[in-house]
């Protein structure tokens, strides 16, 4: 470098370079493009001498794409670059005036390299299965997190929203499930740093999983700050991440500053969340409900909760219940008739009381730019959403800062900080599912009023605690007097340094820190159902009747969680080429990671929100009730040390062999020494067929590559140890003596082996017609053996269950992605992306638990659904079943007789009642994306689809428990017809009806009624997740305002769903869940402005 001539203004002649930068496709000028002398042409020495200042190094184009630049005569070339286009080096040794520089759009720009988080691998050398998407292609207004945007966008990545609540996570599974009871969440990686966060609960039909607020790994990231997402799928791609990558890896690459002038970009969106269509629930209206209650009252045999419901209350208050039952409605006094008929006109608008239309907003601002020495990116974002369920919402504030410095030619450092605050608001629900609004919406009587004429709350008379106790629930009062919110503060910072020791040998080190502070607060004031219900738990028999040791007043509960992690990784890369034929890339590295989680839960009773005071509980009965523990603390620390290496050899740019190996070590405490360091490895190869000479005959094939990989991944269950692990506690065996004890925790199992997943992948990348048609196809087979699960063991061992290796699951499937540029001309461009995936999991081996009521999964999908096959109804309206190809009555099917109490069927016979009816994972899933560009207009349509997923709904009613006091789906009106079992009581007429009644009512411990095939159906649908139209204002009109780009957009999200009917539920995705909040339809409008 010392030999590079030293420039000085005095010595050098200067020349003027001028020209226009246009884009190749549309021939439109590109404003804001960077034109500069690359430092490699000048040498870093120049800067140090202070001879060329920044302004002279480069410039940016104006609004007509025009630029002028004075340079030294000796400079032979300039670089022209613009984001999203291929950079171009132009020769300026000859003509330098009025150049026209055509930049080609780099559609494949992001795909040029595979970013694994450890390495950047040139695409031509890539051997693994991965998918990449540019977030700008799938960006949707009013979507808080990037996981939701991935729905249907990437092959092999199955994303399904869990609820429509603001902040609700999406469940993601990559290539099926490789575990039977562990987390199946993929690993999220931000710029090389694995993110910590809570696992997404498995079952979202469970109320608590929906109602609890939690902080998930990507919740704090603003999608506007994300450049691209890469999903690593096969072993060759993920094995470098070690044990945690068994479920795949999602690598987030954040936006960075680009060399060139400063760009300021602002966007704003207003989005309107539509009120959900309450009628989707198919509930009875007031008139139908009154008729239904009258019907129940007319039936002498249906006595369940017969005094509930307004009709029964009216009849009882006039002492006319029997009159009605014996002689019918006409026998009632006209006063009674009128009172009942009046109910029919009282239709409370529950949809309106529980749900709302909300106007929300989203803003972001970013400043970026840079030069040879430094690039920077700064952004701020605000996201504010109110959910369609009243009382829910999310607010997020983000600040992001990224700065990269080239200290000299060999040494680069970079720093990034991602700071965010994410508040999530929700309702509070206790142990009582009725107070979940989605559930209450289904159960509240249509004629029930919320306030009386004076505006006082009307408590639901049918939501009673016991027959003699009503704790007074009113949803308006509850919403007013309770709150539930989560404030998640997060700072993630990353420090990078890279040093080139020689041309071939590079060192880099990266330190990532993550601090998360999560505060959850649940508050319920004294006048709330939650508080009243909680207080019941402190009931005891006092000298004068019931007494309570919980003090009067509100309840405040706080959960404070601090999470800290650091991740320090260092790599050495050796890249060399010799004889122009052999390319060798070797990487070796170490990674150290440590995380700490501290959680403190506090509870205060007798809380007064005005004085912030609480009242201590002094009664010693509270000591043994954990509901009244004032403080609970948990602390957890983990450390990981890993060593890894990859080697890649490419011959003649055609053949690449790749292999990787990683040893993962983690906390040694209680871990079997055999498994302290887990080896995880992969080998892979690729063949760039289109480079072969024989392929020249096929000119239309622009790219053809074959890939294959194989690898092993492992996981060890750290909760099971070969040693006897103990936890501390305190106990008093005899009065007055309190001693510390060590309780044995979990059954030790020295024979436990690690879970292994062997993955094989073969793939094809095919580009035709200059990559206008680009196909990526992959077939994979993953076999997970020695899966760890709880197995029942002889009680003589001292334990009921033990973690053992008890299952084998295989997943096989294919993925196909087709990206096409259908039409591309000066005015019109149409591109499409279609992806479709199929995954079939099979549980090849699993140990049966003798106590199970349901059949073993062996031979079926890991998500297999089993049901009892019905064959319509008999003349009494009782279900008829298929058994061994014959129709049999319920009595024969269940083997019922007088005195049957559930023991007439052994567990094996019980299991044999079931038949396999379908796979709970979809047969095919995928998405279809279309983009149309016409002049200044852009239209983008995103959709995702599911083909044949078997779903099971909760029964809409129970035949033996028809309650007059709650509302139902109109399905109950058809009970006794079609497939729907008739409503029966203990004394209902019909042969053996009493046996069926007592079976379903009392002895059906396996709850087989829930598993009748009438509640199961196959679901297929396509959801148009986004239609977005945007208009870019022509640059000429923006000139005078100093604006380089302005576009306006309108977008409709979730406007249409086509496919199987999902009556009775809000969305096909959450079909069967009684608690999920509806996925909102959203209309948004906004603009993007860059200057």
């Amino acid at each position: 470098m010392l030999f590079i001539p030293v420039f000085t203004t005095a010595q050098q002649k200067q020349k003027m370079v001028s020209g226009t930068v246009v884009d190749a496709a549309m021939n439109m000028p590109i404003p804001g493009a960077s034109v500069y002398i690359s430092s490699s042409m000048v040498g870093s020495k120049a800067k140090e001498e202070g001879i060329l200042d920044g302004a002279m190094l480069g410039t940016t184009t104006d609004f007509d794409g025009y630029f002028e630049l004075k340079i030294d005569d000796t400079v032979k070339s300039l670089v022209v670059s613009y984001m999203g286009f291929k950079s171009k080096t132009i020769d300026v040794s000859g003509s330098t005036q009025n150049l026209t520089i055509v930049l080609e759009e780099s559609t494949q720009n992001l795909n040029e390299v595979l970013i694994t988080g450890y390495q950047k691998i040139e695409k031509r050398k890539a051997t693994s299965a991965y998918s990449t998407i540019d977030v700008s292609e799938i960006q949707q207004a009013g979507v808080a997190t990037v996981d939701q945007m991935l729905t249907g966008q990437l092959p092999g990545v199955f994303v399904q929203p869990t609820s429509g609540a603001p902040g609700a996570p999406s469940k993601i599974s990559i290539r099926g499930t490789a575990t039977l009871n562990g987390s199946s969440d993929p690993l999220w990686v931000l710029d090389g740093i694995p993110l910590e966060g809570e696992d997404i609960p498995k079952d979202f039909r469970d109320k608590d999983n929906i109602d609890n607020l939690q902080s998930f790994p990507v919740a704090g990231l603003n999608p506007e700050d994300i450049e691209s997402i890469t999903v690593l799928k096969d072993a060759a791609a993920t094995s470098i991440y070690g044990a945690r990558a068994a479920n795949g890896v999602i690598v987030i690459t954040s936006k960075s500053g680009k060399k060139g002038g400063m760009r300021i970009s602002a966007s704003a969106n207003a989005f309107i969340t539509q009120k959900p269509d309450y009628s989707k629930l198919n509930l009875m209206n007031a008139s139908q409900k009154v008729d239904f209650e009258l019907f129940l009252a007319s039936r002498e045999d249906l006595t369940y909760q017969k005094n509930r419901g307004e009709v029964a209350r009216i009849l009882n208050s006039y002492n006319s219940y029997d009159t009605f039952q014996n002689n019918g409605f006409s026998a009632l006094d006209s006063e009674v008739q009128n009172a009942i008929n009046n109910l029919r006109t009282r239709n409370t608008n529950w949809g309106g009381e529980l749900y709302q239309m909300a106007v929300n907003q989203q803003y972001s601002l970013s400043i970026s730019g840079g030069n040879d020495q430094n690039t920077y990116y700064l952004s701020a974002g605000i996201f504010d959403e109110k959910g369609s369920t009243i009382g829910t919402g999310q607010q997020r504030y983000n600040i992001t800062l990224k700065d990269n410095f080239n200290l000299n030619d060999d040494f680069k450092v970079g720093v990034s900080v991602f700071a965010s605050q994410n508040k999530t608001f929700s309702y509070i629900t206790g142990a009582d599912s009725y107070t979940n609004p989605a559930y209450y919406a289904r159960n509240a009587n249509p004629y029930l009023r919320l306030t009386d004429d004076q505006g006082n709350y009307v408590y639901d008379p049918d939501l009673v605690e016991r027959s003699d106790l009503n704790l007074n629930y009113n949803i308006l009062e509850e919403r007013r007097n309770t709150s539930h919110d989560l404030v998640a503060n997060s700072v993630k910072s990353i420090l990078n340094a890279a040093y080139d020791l020689t041309d071939d040998l590079h060192f880099s080190t990266q330190l990532g820190l993550q601090f998360d502070f999560n505060r959850t607060e649940k508050f319920s004031d004294r006048n709330s159902y939650y508080t009243r219900k909680y207080r019941q738990r402190s009931r005891y028999a006092g000298p004068t009747g019931d007494a309570y040791y919980m003090p009067e007043g509100g309840i405040i509960q706080n959960w404070n969680t601090d999470v800290f992690q650091y991740n320090w990784k260092t790599t050495a890369n050796y890249n060399t080429t010799f004889n122009n034929l052999h390319e060798l890339d070797v990487m070796l590295g170490t990674e150290f990671r440590r995380n700490k989680t501290e959680e403190i839960q506090t509870k205060g009773f007798g809380y007064n929100p005005n004085t912030l005071t609480t009242i201590p509980i002094t009664d010693e009965r509270a000591l043994t009730n954990s509901l009244f523990d004032p403080l609970n603390k948990r602390f957890n620390e983990n450390a990981f040390a890993s060593f890894f290496g990859t080697a890649s050899y490419t011959y003649d740019r055609k053949y690449t062999l790749f292999s990787s190996l990683r040893y993962d070590g983690s906390n040694l405490f209680g871990v079997n020494p055999k498994y302290r360091y887990l080896p995880i490895w992969s080998v892979a190869g690729s063949w760039n067929v289109h480079q072969e000479s024989f392929m020249q005959a096929f000119a239309m094939v622009s790219n053809l590559k074959l890939r294959a990989s194989y690898g092993i991944q492992g996981n060890i269950d750290k909760s099971t140890s070969p040693y006897v692990l103990g936890i501390y506690d305190n106990v008093s065996i005899l009065p007055g003596v309190n001693e510390e004890i060590i309780q044995a925790q979990g059954a030790p199992n020295p024979d436990l082996r690690w879970e292994k997943t062997k993955s094989t992948n073969v793939g094809l990348d095919l580009g035709l017609f200059n990559n206008k048609l680009y196909v990526t196809a992959d077939y994979y087979y993953r076999k997970s053996t020695d899966l760890i699960g709880l197995r029942a063991v002889p009680l003589e061992s001292g334990y009921n269950f033990i973690n053992t290796n008890w299952g084998t699951v295989s997943n096989r499937g294919f993925e196909l992605a087709i990206n096409t540029i259908n039409i591309s001309n000066a005015n019109f461009k149409w591109t499409s992306g279609l992806n479709i995936s199929h995954n079939k999991s099979i549980v090849e081996d699993i140990q049966i638990r003798e106590e199970n009521f349901k059949p073993s999964l062996k031979g079926y999908s890991a998500n297999a659904i089993f049901a009892l096959k019905t064959a319509g109804l008999d003349s009494n309206g009782l279900p008829v079943f298929w058994k061994d190809g014959k129709k049999v009555s319920a009595v024969d099917f269940y083997n019922l007789e007088e005195g049957t109490d559930g023991s007439q069927l052994t567990n094996q016979e019980h299991r044999d009642l079931y038949s396999y009816v379908g796979d709970g994972a979809p047969l095919f899933s995928g998405g279809f994306r279309n983009t149309f560009q016409y002049k200044q207009f852009d239209l983008r349509i995103l959709s995702n689809f599911i083909l044949k997923q078997t779903v099971q709904a909760a029964p809409s009613y129970y035949p033996t428990l028809a309650r007059p006091g709650t509302n139902y789906s109109t399905e109950i009106l058809n009970a006794g017809t079609g497939n729907l079992p008739a409503l029966i009581g203990a004394n209902s007429p019909g042969f053996n009806t009493d046996l069926v009644y007592s079976w379903y009512n009392s002895f059906d411990a396996g709850r087989t009624y829930d598993d009748l095939d009438i509640w199961v159906k196959d679901m297929s649908y396509i959801r148009i997740s986004s239609i977005r139209l945007s208009y870019s204002v022509p640059t000429k009109q923006l000139d005078k305002f100093n604006i380089s780009r302005l576009n306006f957009n309108v977008e409709g999200r979730n406007l249409f769903v086509f496919g199987s009917d999902y009556d009775g539920f809000f969305d096909p995705e959450t079909y069967g869940s009684l608690y999920a909040q509806p996925i909102p339809k959203v209309i948004s409008a906004g603009f993007n402005l860059t200057f």
Binding site: D410, Y499, L501, F507, T509, T570, T590, F635, N636, E637, N638, A639, A641, G665, S666, N667, L668, F669, G670, R676, S721, Y723, V724, L725, G726, I727, Y728, D729, V731, S732, I733, L734, P735, G736, V737, E739, E740, I741, I742, A744, Q745, A747, P748, P750, D751, A792, V793, P794, L795, E796, S797, G798, Y799, N800, I802, T804, E850, D901, S903, A1005
Partner: protein, 438 residues
């Protein structure tokens, strides 16, 4: 810059990975010191079993009322309905015994690795042997036939587990094998335990005298009369005090802080036995309410007639062995050996502490005229009175006459025939499901 690279290489070479990864989780421990293992054994001592309470329901001391709250948990036990019991019926403990055995086995297996004072280690391991023996004694007397020398090696009992293993079978051992293990364990406990008597509050732990008392009971159950007498004498030489009810009725002699207490470990009463049952008329009938000082101490009258037990769920009522039992065992064994005169002494010694002075005089006069058989009956009756609702009765019935019992419940008559097979409780279903060898 190069220096930094070298520095990094030196640094990582120096950090030992094992040190980096050696995180001791807060609140979690692998027991290693004798203090750790003491806490571990305390954990085993603290596991509560309801066997004594449930067998009390099964025996003839209580009267159950169908209207009592929670009665469905006990009805089927009360009427010996083992065939198709209600799902709400309380299950006899099984797993919890083996859970305690797991703790004891772990301590015994690790005895050479425990660090710390060797005296303390011996004490601990000795207690583990005794506690293990106690669990097997409870198991064999619940789920197997009473010990009968001629058939004991054929009578199936329960599986013996002396070490923790995964993936092994648990075949059933014979009654003889279980008793051999019990006695063997007690011999080792005797060798290792140095503490003669535990102080009040810690007297849930085994001591020398507790082991002796336990051996006495084992021999009683084996009908080994002479050995029972010898061990009773050995135990009494360490601890022979009786609580004189003429002087002190502030607590029952069975309470943990009574001078009689030898081991206060087993739970014998519950809220339900104290509040939701009454005492069977038969049992009430054998007390001389005017002179027997135990009557008012043990029972309380309820409105509308009848009596309830005063023993409730309070931990102070825990009891396993106490000196009175030694006196009664000695008396019984001597009587069975035909040594009528010698047998009368311990019986009267106890009676002196139980009856008013006048009552005792009458008792003494009555006793002295009894023949062999009558004396034995008197001793057994005294046992019944002394240990009312203390978890002895069912087992005494089993090991002695296996008498016919009749009960009236909800207007219906139920009978347990003499030598009825239902004197052996079936092994609980959940154990059978998990162990095909049962």
């Amino acid at each position: 810059m190069k220096k930094l690279v070298y520095l990094y290489i030196v640094l990582t070479a120096c950090i030992s990975c094992d040190d980096y990864l050696d995180i001791k989780p807060v609140g979690q421990v692998i027991p290693s010191s004798v203090e750790d293992y003491r806490s571990f054994l305390t954990s085993a001592y603290s596991i509560k079993n309801l066997d004594k309470i449930l067998t009390t329901y099964r025996g003839d001391e209580l009267q159950l009322n169908p209207d009592s709250p929670g009665v469905e948990q006990y009805t089927d036990i009360y009427i010996w309905n083992d065939e198709n019991p209600s799902p709400l019926r309380r299950s006899f403990p099984y797993a919890s015994f083996y859970s305690i055995i797991f703790y004891c086995n772990h301590i015994i297996e690790s005895k050479n690795e425990i660090t710390g004072d060797s005296g303390a280690i011996d004490e601990l391991v000795g207690e583990a042997y005794a506690l293990r023996a106690m669990q097997y004694f409870r198991l064999v007397n619940l789920y197997a036939k009473p010990y009968e020398r001629t058939t004991a090696d054929q009578d199936p009992a329960i599986p013996i587990v002396t070490k923790y293993q995964t993936d092994v079978d648990y075949p059933v051992n014979s009654v003889q094998e279980v008793y051999d293990l019990i006695l063997n364990d007690l011999n080792r406990a005797e060798d290792l335990i140095g503490v003669a008597k535990q102080e009040v509050g810690l007297n849930y732990r085994f001591s020398k005298v507790a082991v002796k008392a336990f051996q006495t009971r084992v021999y009683l159950y084996q009908n080994e009369w002479q050995k029972a007498i010898d061990h009773a004498n050995a135990a009494l030489s360490l601890h022979s005090e009786l609580q004189d009810l003429n002087a002190d009725v502030s607590h029952m002699p069975s309470e943990y802080n009574s001078v009689e207490s030898i081991l206060a470990l087993e739970t014998v009463a519950s809220f339900d036995t104290a509040n939701n049952t009454t005492i069977a008329d038969d049992l009430i009938g054998i007390y001389d309410q005017s002179t027997d000082l135990r009557f008012d101490l043990y029972f309380r009258p309820i409105s509308g007639g009848g009596f309830r037990s005063k023993k409730n769920a309070d931990t102070k009522f825990k009891v396993s062995y106490r000196t009175s039992e030694l006196y009664l065992i000695k008396a019984e064994a001597l009587a069975r050996l035909g040594q009528t005169e010698a047998a009368t002494d311990p019986l009267l010694e106890l009676a002196k502490h139980r009856y008013t002075p006048e009552g005792f005089l009458t008792y003494q006069q009555n006793t002295e005229v009894l023949n062999d058989e009558e004396l034995l009956s008197a001793i057994l009756e005294e046992r019944r009175k002394e240990f009312a609702i203390e978890g002895h009765r069912w087992f005494d019935l089993r090991r002695t006459t296996q008498a016919k019992i009749t009960k009236t419940y909800d207007g219906q008559l139920y009978t347990l025939e003499k030598n009825d097979l239902r004197y052996v409780i079936p092994i609980p279903n959940d154990a059978i499901i998990n162990n095909p060898d049962l």
